[in-house]
């Protein structure tokens, strides 16, 4: 081990992380994997080093502005090679765990391609560790509540299906929503039973000492944490008396939205997009369909993540099967335990999301978005809230009325139009100026075109931009480096436009129909250089950002 490696090993030791070295892996991969796994002290942001490189060419933190007038992309090669050391990482925080400068420095760094897991952008960048822990506890309970309702719905639908088949032999379209209104106490009890069994099972309980162990203080009502045994049963039964009421309220979808007695979650929390929900009783019917598709998609999930998440990849058969049983996974016998486990987690979180955001529910493609997140975050409730944060923007793409996706395609079209009128005219000639051919890229954020690693890379840069805008950095501090590239909500779309523009010659010279462009786009998978893409995207943002914004 070199000096670098020793340094990392020390860090890992201090974080209770077992360092496993295999000769086939490069050091940088290790660094990443272990930062993925580490949480203690780093639990706000999981550091990820996304690309290897020599230290010599790395630029030190704080030298950003000193490159003269030469306009360079924040993702230019030289810079992206610098690796954040643990000390550098820590330097972003005050002793209370607050981000210094409201996170400006950190975000700048991340935008420059120094990767880290930005899932917890959910938190206010100015929060301290303590504040974040309180939120985390609250959010965990909210998530568990959602899961509870999901299980209740399964049971309910199973029952009503049974009844239906018993009563009428062929009631295919009949709505089962009416049954939603009568929930027997028997149902509630059995839901609790299955809940406690789910509580007994928490992903990576035994491995996650360093994550939960440190945060149990202040979490006195803890139903589960470090212990993977069943100690929590009696406790959860106690705390459940109020939940019976709550649960039945949730089931009745009562109109008393202010009725927020026990404070675990209000109706508003449960469905933040209430105003868009048209008819609540329909939820149940749709939920059945969503669940059906979720179960099918979960077992078809990509397995690329396995190499990047050692712990999850080595899950035991028993644990995997147990997790599958809990969520009711089907037809998974041909899968490896780690994929069964992954699929089960996908189901749990996607179902909870469908309930949380019933306007969107579940739409294919969402599992593509969630899979990388759960590969990095081992706690379901954390992953869920990260996903919720992620979906705040992405959800619009999945809307039934397609307003969101059309808007996005329109922006891509505008970018191409302003950048390359020749290409745009060609697209017009082929009636392809609506840019439908990039549909998949928009919907799953390049997940199908890029590798796992590249995807995380790109997403992090995109999220950092969005976080920068949310915290108002774009307007103030960032304006100083505005000539570089202002942070934009739509970096993804610039990157997509970049991928098309990179192929302009071919498109203009060879393609005479929209089909051929679509084929070209589908064939990009595995042939994209994420950094080149970001470089081109950066140029586009620099020259076109204002024009595109004002034209919308």
């Amino acid at each position: 081990m070199g000096k670098d490696q020793m340094e990392i090993k020390d860090i890992c030791d201090s974080l209770d992380i077992r360092l496993i070295l295999q000769s086939s892996r490069t050091w940088d991969t290790y660094r990443k994997i272990h930062f993925f796994q580490s949480s203690k002290g780093l639990h706000i942001f999981h550091l990820v080093r996304l690309c290897g490189g020599s230290k010599n060419s790395g630029k030190k933190l704080g030298q950003d502005g000193k490159e003269g007038n030469h306009l360079r992309s924040p993702w230019s090669r030289r810079k992206r090679k610098c690796i954040l050391s643990f000390q550098q990482w820590q330097a972003f925080f005050t002793p209370e765990g607050k981000l210094r400068d409201s996170g400006i420095k950190l975000l700048k760094k991340v935008r420059s391609g120094v990767g880290y897991k930005s899932c917890d952008f959910n938190y206010d960048l100015t929060s301290s560790k303590e504040e974040r822990d309180v939120i985390k506890t609250q959010k965990r309970e909210e998530y568990e509540n959602l899961r509870r309702i999901c299980r209740q719905l399964h049971k309910h639908n199973d029952d009503s299906n049974l009844n239906r088949t018993r009563e009428t032999s062929n009631g295919d379209d009949g709505s089962s929503t009416d049954c939603m209104y009568s929930l027997s106490s028997e149902d509630v009890v059995s839901a609790r039973e299955s809940l406690s069994s789910e509580e007994r099972f928490l992903p990576f309980n035994e491995d996650s000492k360093w994550t939960d162990g440190t945060k149990v203080n202040g979490y006195t009502k803890s139903k589960q944490t470090t212990d993977s045994n069943m100690a929590s049963d009696s406790e959860s039964m106690d705390s459940n008396s109020s939940e019976v009421l709550e649960l039945s309220q949730a089931f009745n979808f009562s109109e008393h939205e202010e009725d927020n007695t026990n404070g675990i979650h209000s109706k508003e929390d449960l469905s933040p997009y209430n105003e868009e929900v048209q008819s609540k009783p329909r939820i149940s019917e749709d939920f059945v369909m969503w669940r059906r598709i979720i179960l099918l998609d979960a077992i078809r999930a990509n397995e690329e993540w396995i190499a990047y998440s050692v712990i999850q990849a080595t899950v035991s058969v028993a644990k995997a099967r147990r997790s599958a049983e809990i969520v009711g996974l089907k037809d998974y016998d041909h899968l490896d335990p780690c994929r069964i486990f992954h699929a089960s987690r996908l189901v749990a979180i996607l179902e909870a999301y469908a309930l949380y955001d019933p306007e969107i529910g579940y739409c294919q493609g969402m599992s593509d978005l969630l899979s990388p997140i759960i590969s990095v975050i081992r706690e379901d409730h954390m992953a869920f809230w990260c996903f919720v944060g992620f979906m705040k923007k992405a959800r619009h793409n999945f809307r039934l009325d397609e307003v969101g996706i059309r808007r996005q395609l329109n922006i891509v079209s505008k970018i191409i139009k302003y950048k390359d009128s020749h290409l745009y005219r060609h697209l017009e000639k082929l009636q392809a100026e609506d840019c439908f051919f990039v549909y998949r890229m928009v919907l799953v954020l390049f997940r199908r075109e890029l590798t796992f690693e590249q995807t995380l890379c790109l997403w992090e840069v995109i999220w950092a931009d969005q976080a920068a805008i949310r915290s108002g950095i774009g307007k103030s501090a960032w304006s100083k480096i505005r000539q570089r590239a202002p942070p934009t909500e739509d970096l993804l779309l610039y990157a997509i436009a970049a991928s098309i523009l990179q192929r302009r010659k071919k498109i203009i010279a060879k393609y005479s129909s929209m089909d051929e462009i679509l084929r070209e786009c589908n064939a990009m998978a595995g042939h994209l250089d994420v950094w080149k893409l970001l470089d081109t995207a950066h140029d586009l943002v620099m020259t076109l950002h204002d024009k595109v914004e004002t034209s919308l």
Partner: protein
Amino acid sequence: MDEDCDYLFKAVLIGDSAVGKSNLLYRFAKDEFFLDSKPTIGVEFAYRSIKVGDKIIKAQIWDTAGQERFRAITSSYYRGALGALLVYDITRKSTFESLKKWLKELREFGGPEMVVVLVGNKSDLLHSREVNLEDGRSLATLEQVSFMETSAKENLNVEEAFLHMIHRIYETTSQKSLETKTTTSDQSTDLKTLQGNREIIYIDEVSATKQPSSC
């Protein structure tokens, strides 16, 4: 795209999620099968050229996403489609029950002369069959469409289903083009007659199916 073929036919694959649409296409276009092929997002397509009589027909088969959510955006892909394979999964009754909805959509977006073949896929999974062969057959009779049970996995009837559709498209369109020829000297827009190419069946795999995981 129009190299070496006498006709170019466009057809679509439709049906609920995970009934095996993409795998039917893989099997037909590339003779491949992927147990865990990912859900199709948006649309993809593949080509295969076949010989019917002395004509080379290039079939362009569009593979669409199964979830209803994608309908509005994928429905534009019915444009110009002469045939459709309407697929359900014999191990899941719900996919059979959705057929009504799909047929309705076909009538709405597809042309009146669209050739429809009803396909019950996954016929290898006999032990978990939920839809009887008879049910499929009688629905097909009722709706006046052709019917076949297939297994993309075991490569049963896949070729037959596609070829049946293509032959029937050929029959209807060549009749139509004969009719149009009597009035105008031009070809109908959906047909393209080129220099005759005497090569026997050649398979043109396209990029859309090159990535096994892209579907």
